[in-house]
């Protein structure tokens, strides 16, 4: 069986006293294969954490069905739980009075692990995250980044089949984020029967880690594809930014006419050098050669050129209609 997780028509409604019911999920469906890092991307209140909570048996759905490794999360949760781990970011979870080592050992016992196996894995992963020397430090003495690394180790020590990462790098510094991302990537590569479901605010993180991404907003999946596919679907044209020593409006009209229909050229100026800067949206990659020739024909000398790649942020913008940050600010639900 290749499907680690199957989510079918999942809905979740929160009934709150005195207010209208809140539809956190509205018929969400997707599946995740073994060996895959699957991203759920969306702003606050989009429904991604609700989805993870249901998949990890913390929350019951209003309707729909989720299976993890073939087990129904609602009915067969006792079979699901030994196979999964959840790591949430942006929190300071853990028993502050315990040392790092004690904390990790204790959770390994909740999974029935043999102590010698648990200790070996704890040592292995603490070394990987660079925290072996801090193993005897109490949890309440750790920085946010260190606590999050311990949280990650806690999730990995039990060797789950499915790892749920809910904003794992939220609130941690760049260095710790890089370490966490590298570990997650290597962990999935290590064994093909593992899979990761990642929710994140960070587009670059999803782009870097995920083999597939679902963009979710207001409880609906808007897209579900590989990041490269999402970006490609955004716009099939090639985009370039070209700075030249001189170019005026008449010359631009001339070049535009020579390039033919479908190729758009926008003239501006470089913010630093104030040189004329051309943003070119070309129908075909090969059109760039014709454009450079046309520029040379107008007596313009090339100073700088770069190809503009679409980002997941652009894909999000197209689907949601707002930039990620704008959507974050507008969202009333945390």
């Amino acid at each position: 069986m290749h499907t680690a997780i199957q989510v079918e028509n999942l809905s979740r409604v929160f009934n709150r006293r005195g207010t209208a019911p809140f539809h956190a999920l509205r018929g969400v469906s997707f599946d995740v294969s073994y060996g895959e890092i699957f991203g759920l991307l969306g702003p606050n209140g989009a429904g991604k954490t609700t989805t993870i909570k249901i998949m990890s048996t913390l929350l019951l759905p209003t309707s729909g069905r989720v299976t993890v490794a073939g087990f129904d999360v609602e009915k067969d949760y006792t079979h699901v739980r030994p196979l999964i781990s959840l790591i949430s970011g942006g929190e300071t979870s853990g028993y502050g009075i315990l040392t790092v080592e004690e904390q990790l050992w204790m959770f390994s016992q909740f999974y029935g692990m043999e102590t010698h196996v648990a200790r070996a894995r704890i040592e292995e992963y603490l070394k990987v995250v660079g925290m072996w020397d801090s193993r005897r430090q109490q949890m309440n003495r750790l920085s946010t980044g260190m606590r999050q690394k311990v949280n990650l180790v806690r999730g990995l020590v039990t060797d789950p089949k499915v790892l749920f990462l809910d904003e794992p790098t939220l609130g941690v510094d760049v260095e710790a984020s890089v370490i966490i991302r590298n570990i997650v990537r290597d962990w999935v590569r290590e064994k093909p029967e593992r899979s990761v479901i990642l929710t994140t605010h960070y587009m670059a993180e999803a782009d870097e880690l995920c083999s597939r991404v679902a963009i979710i907003n207001h409880g609906l999946i808007l897209a579900n594809a590989a990041p490269s596919q999402l970006k490609q679907d955004l716009d099939s044209r090639a985009h370039y930014e070209i700075t030249v020593d001189r170019l005026d409006g008449d010359q631009l009209d001339h070049i535009t006419a020579s390039m033919g229909e479908g190729n758009d050229l926008v003239l501006g100026s470089d913010k630093v050098t104030q040189s004329p800067m051309l943003v070119a949206h070309l129908m075909h990659e090969s059109d760039i050669a014709r454009l450079i020739t046309a520029l040379a024909g107008q007596g313009a000398t090339l100073e700088y050129m770069r190809k503009l790649e679409p980002t997941l942020e652009d894909a999000f913008l197209k689907m949601v209609g707002k930039r990620f940050e704008d959507e974050e600010e507008a969202s009333p639900v945390s």
């Binding site: 019951l60 028993y95 909740f110």
Partner: protein, 270 residues
């Protein structure tokens, strides 16, 4: 079993790891004094003539062993959920949450018993309390007492799984109400007949009376005096089984309802 022992371990760490070991041992001995000091003053100083000091003191001490457990279990739900933010991780581990709670209850019960034993070592000779222990009944009673305490604790925990804010008043009211009704402080035979009858069926009453008789070797008042100590043991066993089963079932339904409501990992400004 590993999960149960790990729960006991975390319970012990939470209880003891906040200070040096010797300070904690001192605390262990001193903490229960607060619960029975008033009884000593009430019956040992002002109410000497009543002769109820042994009854009230033993009753209060053994009530303390139960109340500490269910008080602690109510708080553990909120502490794990809000303060430590570990409830969700425990909840979705291979160990059932009920097993975890029972482990926490076991530690709390053992700590309470340790405090009681330390204090009885000086209370019995100093206050000349009757002491003719039947060790068999004492040990059996102590084991069954754990089931009574854990059952009550599970029941309380099931309620607190479904409350977002920790309502200390509710626990206090329960704690106080059962203290009076269980006959820990004074014989319920002093109540009007209806209340006295109710007191007989308060689940803690037979346990407390069994422990009184087991340690003092006497029937100290007429409360439950129509029952032999062996019958009392049977009654405690029955109430322990019923309470434990009830608590076990209630936590199952409480957990499912908390899952439904999304309360397992809810945090507030508590």
């Amino acid at each position: 079993m590993k999960g149960f022992l790990a729960s006991m371990y975390i319970g012990l760490q939470i209880e003891s790891n906040w200070t040096k070991k010797w300070v904690w041992l001192l605390y262990l001995a001193a903490y229960p004094i607060g619960s029975f000091l008033a009884v000593i003053i009430l019956y040992g100083v002002f109410g000497q003539k009543t002769g109820l000091l042994p009854y009230a003191l033993y009753g209060t001490i053994f009530y303390y062993s139960l109340s500490m457990v269910f008080f602690d279990m109510a708080f553990s739900v909120h502490d794990d959920r809000e303060h430590y933010q570990t409830l969700k991780y425990i909840f979705l581990s291979s160990t059932s949450y009920r097993t975890y709670l029972c482990g926490r209850a076991a530690t709390r019960y053992l700590i309470a018993l340790a405090g009681i034993i330390i204090n009885l070592c000086w209370l019995i000779p100093v206050l000349r309390l009757p002491f003719h222990p039947n060790w068999g009944y004492l040990i059996a009673g102590a084991i069954l007492g754990y089931l009574v305490a854990a059952g009550l604790g599970l029941a309380v925990a099931s309620v607190f799984l479904l409350t977002i804010k920790l309502d200390v008043d509710v626990v206090d009211a329960l704690f106080g109400g059962l203290f009076v009704l269980s006959g820990a402080l004074f014989p319920p035979t002093a109540f009007p007949a209806v209340f006295a009858k109710i007191a007989e069926f308060v689940p803690m009453s037979p346990f407390i009376e069994l422990m009184r008789r087991a340690i003092s070797g006497k029937i100290l008042t007429s409360f439950l005096s129509d029952m032999s100590t062996f019958q009392l043991l049977g009654r405690v066993a029955l109430s322990a089984a019923v309470l434990f089963a009830l608590g076990w079932v209630l936590v199952f339904f409480g957990s499912r309802q908390a899952q439904r409501k999304g309360y397992i990992d809810v945090t507030t400004a508590f």
